[in-house]
């Protein structure tokens, strides 16, 4: 058995520790204001990061083939959890979404788990249905149907961002598995027709969708977050104000340690900081895809691709929102944004990739 992929491990640790530093820097103002403890978020995240690292090491030693066997059970458990979280009294509401199983300030999002579970299940499904993939009805529709059920459950919370990430991961996996290109074009076409239809029925939707292009039209409403984000990124300039010197974190940007943490990175480290973060992500994604390509096992290949594509898609989605390229969707930046359960699942997933990397050619 080979060694785990050291580049991936180091990149992941680097980006997570950088994330922890940035969480501390961006959150201490709010933390002191809300909890009288400037290091509240730091402590929380540091604890979760420690647990996550241990979890990753453990998982990296577990032969991933076990997931092939257990995938169906995982899926069923995951679906049950997604249903349970919707029941008031069991699931709790945070930021307007009933997405949490919470004990005190600790919370776990079943939708985060469901991403990983669905990647594993889809990998198994694609492996089993290798020959059927050319047949849309037999090969693609069943798995897409399942994904839409999970998407539907997540949208009931509602958590649009997570739902979109989930669907796109599976679409990405279907794509590399060799599903006809024309199928994606058809789905795309249907999507566009749907959007056009919605706009035709109520033209104000177009305005709302496009409001991110000129956030100053509604500076206190839909444009507020993106304006505050631009006010952080812009003045950062080439080299930024330096660690700890962000101004926007002083109550201007709400919850700066979560979705918009990249703005604070841009403000404190400038364009250089942005380049470093982008490079770290690209290293992780490139390494992930390389492991996928080198993997002899189709199941493992699909899992590695799925997880890597998840990280790639979610970080791109987050960054495009933060820099104002797309409307606000509400997804976190993997490894960097504050959030315990999200971090744990990501490290779990990385652990799986690291395990798979042991079986490379």
């Amino acid at each position: 058995m080979k060694k785990i992929n050291i580049v991936l491990l180091i990149s992941i640790l680097a980006i997570s520790i950088f994330g922890l530093i940035m969480i501390t820097s961006s959150s201490y103002i709010w933390a002191e204001y809300k909890f009288n403890d400037p290091f509240k978020y730091f402590k929380h995240q540091a604890l979760f990061l420690s647990i996550s690292i241990i979890l990753m090491i453990v998982v990296s030693k577990i032969d991933y083939h076990i997931y092939f066997e257990k995938a169906n059970i995982f899926l069923i458990v995951s679906l049950i959890l997604l249903v349970l979280v919707l029941i008031p009294g069991i699931g709790s509401v945070r930021n307007g979404s009933r997405s949490w199983f919470g004990i005190g300030s600790f919370g776990i999002q079943p939708s985060e788990f469901s991403k990983l579970i669905l990647i594993i299940f889809t990998a198994k499904y694609l492996y089993n249905n290798e020959k059927n993939l050319k047949n849309i009805k037999k090969g693609v529709i069943p798995i897409l149907g399942l994904v839409m059920i999970v998407f539907g459950l997540i949208m009931l919370q509602p958590d649009f961002g997570t739902g979109v990430v989930l669907v796109m991961i599976i679409v990405g996996m279907l794509f590399i598995a060799g599903v006809d290109f024309s199928f994606f074009l058809k789905i795309g076409a249907v999507g566009i027709i749907g959007v056009v239809g919605l706009i035709a029925v109520a033209p104000y939707r177009l305005k709302r969708i496009l409001s991110f292009l000129n956030p100053w039209e509604d500076p206190l409403g839909s444009g507020f977050q993106i304006i505050q984000s631009l006010y952080a990124i812009g003045p950062g300039g080439l080299f930024g104000f330096g660690l700890g010197n962000s101004r926007q974190k002083h109550f201007y940007l709400p919850e700066p340690q979560t979705d918009f943490i990249f703005s604070i990175i841009s403000e404190e480290f400038g364009f250089m900081g942005v380049l470093i973060v982008a490079c770290l992500f690209i290293t992780i994604i490139y390494t992930g895809f390389k492991i996928a390509i080198k993997c002899n096992d189709l199941f493992g290949k699909y899992i590695v691709f799925g997880i890597t594509f998840w990280i790639a898609f979610q970080s791109i989605l987050n960054l495009m929102v933060v820099v104002g390229l797309i409307p606000v969707t509400g997804v976190t930046l993997p490894f960097i944004s504050y959030g315990g359960s999200s971090l744990m699942i990501l490290f779990l997933a990385i652990g799986i990739i690291l395990n798979i990397s042991r079986y490379q050619k």
Binding site: I29, L55, V58, V59, K61, I62, D63, H65, I66, F68, E130, G172, F175, I176, A177, G178, L230, Y231, A232, I233, G234, P235, G236, G237, L238, N245, R247, Q248, H250, F251, Y252, S266, G270, F271, V274, L275, A278, F281, I282, I285, Y286, F289, A292, I293, N296, D297, L298, F299, G300, K301, F305, F309, A312, I316, L319, M320, V323, G324, L325, Y359
Partner: protein, 660 residues
């Protein structure tokens, strides 16, 4: 997790999965191609994101940084200094002193009760009012007016409290170093340093500076951040340099103050002008006011800058215009033409009396002017005819504003030419029945004596850059028109010098300087009737008569306890102002003037002979017209004071130092 740990670490399954892949190379290749496509798309998107960040941070930097700075920064405004107003030589007439004002930033005041209590005690404001100030929902709050322009002691007390959210910022306060000096003309400013009258109002746009600020950074809740403050320097206002000469102005102010004490008149005014340019050298009026306590005065007292505002019958000073017109039209030979004044003249059944009961008898027209004989001027007016006389009056600038750069100027009233009959023509020619302003008169007389050129009067010489005092804009003398010829003007000067040396203007005689002038005594009109025993006595004087450097006009309204003639009341004042002006302007004494004609009561000026080196006996003989005081011992004179050829009044003291 436990479940996996138990099951994990078995490699057996590997073969189970791998068996059918090795031969499926093409299928793998297909997957790998698609993964690479996905990777390329992802890298492209990251580049797009990076490019967008670059755009935001570099291309949009200025705009966003600007917006964001405005969002983060709070300004503590710093008041700019108002531009100074100076005389022509740089003497500051309106200055600034720095005071401090209280500024509250309610968001930063944590303990509102304590802050309100302490401040209300120091500033003498009720606790409730102060509490309202400290808890107001605003970014910056001023306590007006109690917290403005604080004295040093109060500011120091507040500073020592070191209260959070309580700031002291600089404010500039207008300061008039000479208080009532030129008060109407300079004007004054309100609590916010805005010009409210006079030049302060007229030139407010130039004098007002631009606010600066101390910018500090604040969080979204208004708390101050520990970041460096940015100091934006306030932009001081533009300085205004006047044509005023401080020394002449001081003399005028002093003389008007003396006149107020001596005669207790209703009003008094004076102007000094450079006749060669129309520059106003001094201007003042009484009653005046203290600009720092402007609230204590009525609007009339503040706004009536009499030299430009007041209109009244000029009286005899107006005869200068009739004289100049007659000479220009060559209608009179002053030396050769004679006129017999019987004490009155009858014009179309109206009997116009001379001011001297019984008349002046037989006189040349030169003497008519010297005596200020009214019937004589009626004759001149008749020779001119109404069209010509009124044409000259118009050309000399009467009946309309001179356009001087002072506010509140009056235009005066003249007869409508169609309504002028023989009586109106007669009275106008000696200065009755017309209404003019002092500035019109002095401007017109300047033209009559300066070679015939009417200049537009002005008081602002230049606008100057606040730091370097470099000239931004300069006002130059402005010719309105040529009114009379150089020769005529020369004759007017000579005639008016005679008035001072030999005629009614003798109280204005200054030995050694050639003074010309004309008296004026005008009855005041109330409700269409002349008032009894209530005159405006005036004098228009200038010097030196051969090359006039300064014209001074003084008018005293209703002087009490004195015979109200221009000669007795106003002429001595003009004399003093002229004397001070000539010294201020470094004008040399003249030798070739017309010698004063002395009455038996008048003291004479006598030149002191040289006695240095002579014996005591000889010196006593030479100095018999003077009192002599000795000091030291000896036979001969070592030193005399005043020195030889100085002219002093007879009977005054000459001091001699003796030696062997």
């Amino acid at each position: 997790m436990k479940l996996y740990l138990i099951v994990g670490q078995s490699n057996n399954n590997l073969s189970f999965f791998s068996y059918n892949f090795i031969g499926d190379y093409m299928f793998f290749k297909n997957i790998h191609t698609r993964i690479k496509i996905v990777l390329l798309i992802i890298i492209f998107l990251f580049l797009l994101i990076t490019a967008k960040v670059f755009y935001i941070q570099v291309i949009d930097y200025d705009k966003l940084n600007n917006y964001a700075s405005n969002l983060w920064s709070r300004n503590l405004p710093l008041e700019a200094n108002r531009g100074k107003i100076t005389d022509r030589n740089g003497v500051v007439l309106a200055d600034n002193i720095t005071t401090t004002s209280l500024v509250l930033i309610p968001n930063q005041i944590k303990d509102k009760e304590k802050t309100a209590e302490m401040l209300s005690e120091i500033l003498n404001v009720t606790y409730d009012d102060m509490y309202k100030h400290v808890s107001k929902r605003t970014s910056i709050e001023r306590v007006h007016p109690e917290g403005r322009r604080l004295s040093y002691e109060i500011a120091d007390k507040i500073n020592n409290l070191k209260l959070e959210g309580v700031y002291l910022v600089k404010e500039a306060k207008r300061y008039y170093p000479y208080d009532t000096f030129m008060s109407h003309t300079l004007g004054f400013v309100g609590i916010d340093n805005q010009g409210l009258s006079g030049l302060e109002l007229m030139y407010n746009g130039y004098l007002t500076g631009e606010y600066g600020a101390i910018k500090y950074f604040s969080d979204a809740k208004g708390n101050r951040l520990k970041l460096n403050e940015i100091y934006e320097e306030p932009q001081n206002g533009i300085n205004v340099t006047l044509t005023i000469n401080y020394d002449i102005q001081t003399s005028l102010e002093r003389e008007l103050d003396n006149a107020m004490l001596k005669y207790n008149p209703d009003q008094a005014l004076g102007i000094a002008m450079d006749p060669q340019s129309g520059e106003i050298l001094a201007i003042s009026s009484r009653p005046n006011f203290s600009p720092s306590n402007y609230q204590d005065y009525t609007t009339e007292e503040i706004n009536r800058n009499l030299p430009v505002w007041m209109t009244y019958e000029p009286g005899s000073t107006f005869k200068i215009i009739t004289l100049a017109a007659s000479l220009e039209e060559k209608l009179v030979d002053l030396e050769k033409d004679n006129y017999h004044d019987s004490g009155s003249i009858t014009v179309e059944n109206a009997r116009i009396k001379c001011w001297k009961a019984g008349g002046h008898g037989s006189q040349t027209f030169m003497e008519v002017v010297q005596n200020s004989c009214n019937p004589g001027f009626v004759i001149l007016g008749q020779r001119l005819g109404k069209e010509k006389l009124f044409d000259y009056i118009d050309k000399f600038g009467f009946g309309k504003k001179t356009g001087v750069d002072l506010n509140g100027e009056g235009a005066g009233i003249l007869f409508n030419l169609d309504n002028v009959g023989p009586v109106e023509l007669a009275t106008t020619s000696f200065g009755q029945g017309v209404s003019v302003t002092p500035i019109q008169q002095i401007t017109a007389v300047s033209a009559a004596i300066n070679g015939g050129i009417l200049y537009k009067p002005y008081i602002v010489k230049s606008l100057n850059e606040p730091e370097t005092n470099a000239v931004i804009k300069e006002n130059k003398k402005q010719v309105v028109r040529k009114v009379i010829s150089e020769e005529t003007s020369s004759m007017v000067r000579q005639t008016l010098e005679n008035v001072v040396s030999l005629g009614t203007g003798r109280p204005a005689y200054l030995d050694g300087y050639r003074v010309g002038g004309k008296t004026g005594t005008a009855q005041k009109v109330q409700d269409g009737h002349y008032m009894v025993g209530n005159y405006i006595t005036s004098f228009m004087g200038f010097a030196p008569a051969d090359d006039p450097k300064v014209v001074v006009y003084i008018a005293i309204d209703n002087a009490k306890g004195v015979t109200q003639y221009g000669g007795t009341v106003a002429a001595p004042i003009v004399k003093q102002v002229l004397y001070d002006s000539l010294i201020a302007l470094n004008v040399e004494k003249r030798k070739d003037g017309t010698e004063k004609r002395y009455n038996y009561l008048d003291k004479k000026y006598i030149e002191i002979p040289n006695v240095v080196g002579k014996t005591v006996d000889q010196a006593m003989k030479d100095l018999k017209s003077f009192k002599v005081e000795f000091s030291g011992n000896g036979e001969r004179i070592a030193y005399q004071s005043p020195i030889a050829s100085t002219r002093i009044y007879e009977g005054e003291t000459v001091r001699l130092l003796l030696t062997n």
